[in-house]
């Protein structure tokens, strides 16, 4: 690479000047879904640095994101335009929504503790190996003392997460997995110190340290998996930069949605989403309410009509007066329904919790019995305490602590590569139990975008005019007509004076007469049941029937689920005709149309109380209550923010196919978790009698602990390969 081709050097004087004028830089974040290799990194960084005002640009390939430090005047649009010229898709990310993942303090803290435990246990293990291979008398005592000096501060530092958890549990008068862990660590350290002071043979410093190390590894894996999911979920939220155009005394200004107040006048351009609830004060247009109600067909809106936050304005610019903002909008009031439904999910106890509930009291009783038994047998408190400590250490849930996180990490990683983001910790376990799958229609099984059924019976000339008219509008039905005529290979006609009449359609002049493409009432023809668009020319009218296009993989996923013996159902807020057509197309026997949000949730609650484990797949605001009352829920990335928050798993791509695979992976993962519990138990069954009999040595404890932890991790890794 030529030395002179350094955009940073060329930009440096500009950057320096900008920095001198305004002391504070802003940091911009861009999402780059398309980058994947070293060449992408350098092209993107060079492209960004060549924009005047940019000081530093750094790509993060893991997060598929670029962070740009730039002068305040640099607009994200300029950066995005520069990148798309270089051939990369880029989206602006809202810095506010990303702030949480920016500094990953908790993760770093865990990693630090893990490192200290790891290095300390390596050193102590070296000394222990010397003791096991025969160091005696003064040498052994010296080694034990050195081990103590390393182990005590190391455990005090790295064991803090366990100490805090156990303390919290005891204060709430409960037992969790951390109580026996802390008891084992404390007892092991205390007896080992005592033994060392009396120049005894056995000290468990290495065991206590490796225990902390393995358990921290489990915690860290668990944390990583959830941090990755959280940052990806935050990125989805950050993609919707919340801005609105406020009109004050005739001047338009772009403001954050959070700054809007009731009574403000807001301009919503075609293609924009309503930021607030309000009333239309001027303009007429059509509104897409599919995300709120599930209706596929746009609704006509004019001065005086009410609009709700979340609706999309389709054809004409609308000025609305805000009546409710933020928390008071109908969008947010749905959250109440969600909060009520939420309790069902939190009642689920995970496999790990169930294991802990059996395990913690069992271990304590066993260890106490060993202590009492040996004390009554020998009347030597030192021997009895040593054996009780050995029992606690050997039974300590090292492998149990790794059993679940190792599997969920491997499974979530595999699902992530398939395009599924697992947000909730117990989502995989719940997914494995599913026997009924309920789909929403609009936006989930279908794209929510219409598609022309057939163009038969319409003359060539009429189609050419239709294409010309359709090209002038961004309305979904116009788009459908345009792409259907285009793929039929018919060129557009030369139509003049084309204008869009917001809320009605498009008209123009062709061969001296007026031609129109639009809704039935405008052209004076009878209303059709199905979604349709009408064309008027030469005094004749033609009807082009449309249907909702199926989402990619919808047919396959329904078939695969039915083959796997799951019951598939369709619940939709759309009209009966449209729902029946989709259900018949996909072979879904049970469907219900025209459902209100609360009714959907009721149906699911009824199924659940009937003993079914329901998976709900939906995207709209009308689905949020149903999503949270279901046993487990999935929403596509195109869903509204509220729906994504309510669901356990987010589908990142456009294809529905991965859902069927996700069920299989979840079942496999649960099987692995159960296997892991069995492996851990097996080691205990062998080692515990030795410990209770007083035959356990620190060497046996170390061997049992390491082998069981490693077997459990390896078993979990089997999930990564197909």
């Amino acid at each position: 690479m030529a030395i002179s081709a350094c955009p940073a050097c060329e930009a440096a004087p500009v950057a320096a000047a900008a920095a001198a004028a305004v002391p504070k830089d802003t940091r911009l974040s861009l999402s780059l879904p398309g980058i994947h290799c070293a060449a992408c990194i350098s092209t993107v960084e060079e492209a960004l640095r060549s924009v005047p005002g940019v000081q530093e640009a750094r790509v993060n390939l893991t997060l598929k994101r670029a962070n740009v430090d730039a002068a305040p005047h640099v607009r994200p649009d300029a950066l995005i335009a520069r990148l798309s010229a270089a051939g990369y898709e880029a989206h602006e990310l809202d810095a506010g929504s990303l702030a949480a993942t920016e500094t990953d303090r908790a993760g770093r803290d865990l990693l630090m503790r893990l490192a200290v435990a790891g290095f300390a246990s390596m050193n102590v293990m070296l000394l222990s190996v010397a003791v096991w291979s025969g160091a005696a008398e003064a040498t052994r005592d010296l080694f034990h003392w050195i081990s103590a000096v390393i182990a005590l501060p190391a455990i005090l530092f790295s064991g803090q997460p366990f100490f805090a958890n156990a303390f919290a549990a005891l204060r709430a008068r409960r037992l969790n997995m951390d109580v026996p862990i802390v008891l084992a660590i404390v007892l092991a350290l205390a007896t080992s110190l005592w033994e060392t002071a009396l120049s005894g043979h056995h000290a468990y410093f290495d065991a206590a340290l490796t225990l902390v190390f393995f358990l921290l590894t489990g915690r860290y894996l668990d944390y990583r998996t959830r941090a990755v999911a959280r940052s990806a979920a935050e990125e989805l939220a950050a993609l919707e930069v919340p801005r609105a155009i406020r009109v004050k005394e005739g001047i338009e200004a772009e403001v954050a949605v959070s700054e809007l107040r009731p009574g403000d006048t807001v301009l919503v351009r075609p293609g924009g989403r309503m930021p607030v609830d309000g009333v239309i004060v001027s303009g007429q247009s059509e509104l897409d309410r599919s995300l709120l109600t599930g209706e596929t067909l746009p609704v006509f809106g004019q001065t005086g009509d009410k609009v709700s936050a979340g609706e999309v304005n389709l054809t004409g610019p609308l000025t609305i007066r805000a009546t409710a903002v933020g928390e008071d909008t109908s969008l947010h009031q749905m959250a109440d329904l969600v909060a009520i439904a939420e309790s069902g999910r939190s009642r689920y106890t995970s496999l790990a919790d169930r294991a802990a509930k059996l395990y913690a009291p069992g271990v304590h009783i066993l260890s106490a019995l060993a202590f009492v038994g040996w004390y009554l047998y020998t009347f030597d408190i030192r021997t009895a305490l040593n054996i009780a400590a050995a029992v606690l250490i050997i039974t300590c849930p090292c492998a149990l602590g790794l059993a679940v996180p190792a599997v969920t990490t491997a499974a979530s990683g595999r699902l992530f590569r398939m395009g599924l983001l697992v947000k909730h910790a117990t989502a995989l376990e719940r997914l494995a139990e599913v026997d009924t799958v309920v789909f929403d229609k609009t936006g989930t099984l279908t794209m929510g975008q219409p598609e022309v059924q057939s163009l038969d019976g319409i003359p060539q000339d009429a189609l050419r005019v239709a294409r010309a008219l359709a090209e002038a509008s961004a309305h979904p039905l116009s788009k459908a007509v345009r792409s259907a005529v285009h793929s039929a290979g018919i060129p557009p006609a030369a139509v003049q004076n084309i204008e869009e009449v917001p809320g009605y359609g498009v008209q123009g002049r062709w061969r001296g007469q007026t031609v129109r493409l639009g809704r039935s009432a405008w052209l004076g023809v009878a209303e059709c049941a199905a979604s349709a668009v009408h064309l008027q020319l030469d005094g004749a009218t033609y009807t082009i029937l449309c249907k909702d296009a199926l989402r990619q993989g919808a047919a396959e996923v329904v078939a695969a689920l039915q083959n796997a013996g799951k019951e598939v159902q369709l619940l939709s807020g759309d009209t009966e005709g449209a729902v029946r057509m989709t259900a018949e197309q996909l072979g879904i026997a049970y469907w219900q149309a025209g459902m209100l949000p609360a009714e959907k949730a009721q149906v699911i609650t009824a199924r659940t109380s009937g003993g079914a484990k329901v998976l709900m797949v939906g995207d709209g605001l009308n689905d949020t209550a149903a999503l949270s009352s279901a046993h487990v829920s999935i929403s596509p990335a195109s869903a509204l923010d509220a729906a994504r928050v309510a669901s356990d798993i987010v589908l990142l791509g456009n294809d529905l196919g991965p859902i069927a695979d996700a069920l299989t992976v979840a079942q496999k993962a649960t099987r692995r978790i159960r296997e892991n519990f069995r492996i851990a138990t097996l080691y205990n069954v062998i080692a515990v009698p030795l410990a209770v009999a007083g035959l356990a040595t620190p060497l046996i404890a170390a061997l049992a602990m390491s082998t069981s932890s490693i077997t459990v991790s390896l078993n979990a890794l089997r999930l990564r390969v197909k």
């Binding site: 290799c37 990194i41 350098s42 893991t62 990693l111 630090m112 490192a115 290095f119 010296l142």
Partner: protein, 52 residues
């Protein structure tokens, strides 16, 4: 056995050095982008000097 008086401090020192190194890498954000780091070494761009 007097050799232990040298070997034990040396082993502790080396262990401590490793730990210090690891903590340094965490503190300087070297685990933020593992995929990117794996790809960057394959790039054809070289710096003449470290960044200021």
């Amino acid at each position: 056995m007097t050799i232990l008086t040298y070997l034990i401090p040396i082993s502790l020192l080396l262990g401590g050095l490793g730990l210090w190194g690891f903590i340094y890498t965490i503190r300087s954000d070297q685990y933020d982008d593992p995929d990117g780091n794996a790809q960057r070494i394959l790039g054809g761009q070289y710096d003449d000097k470290p960044k200021d």
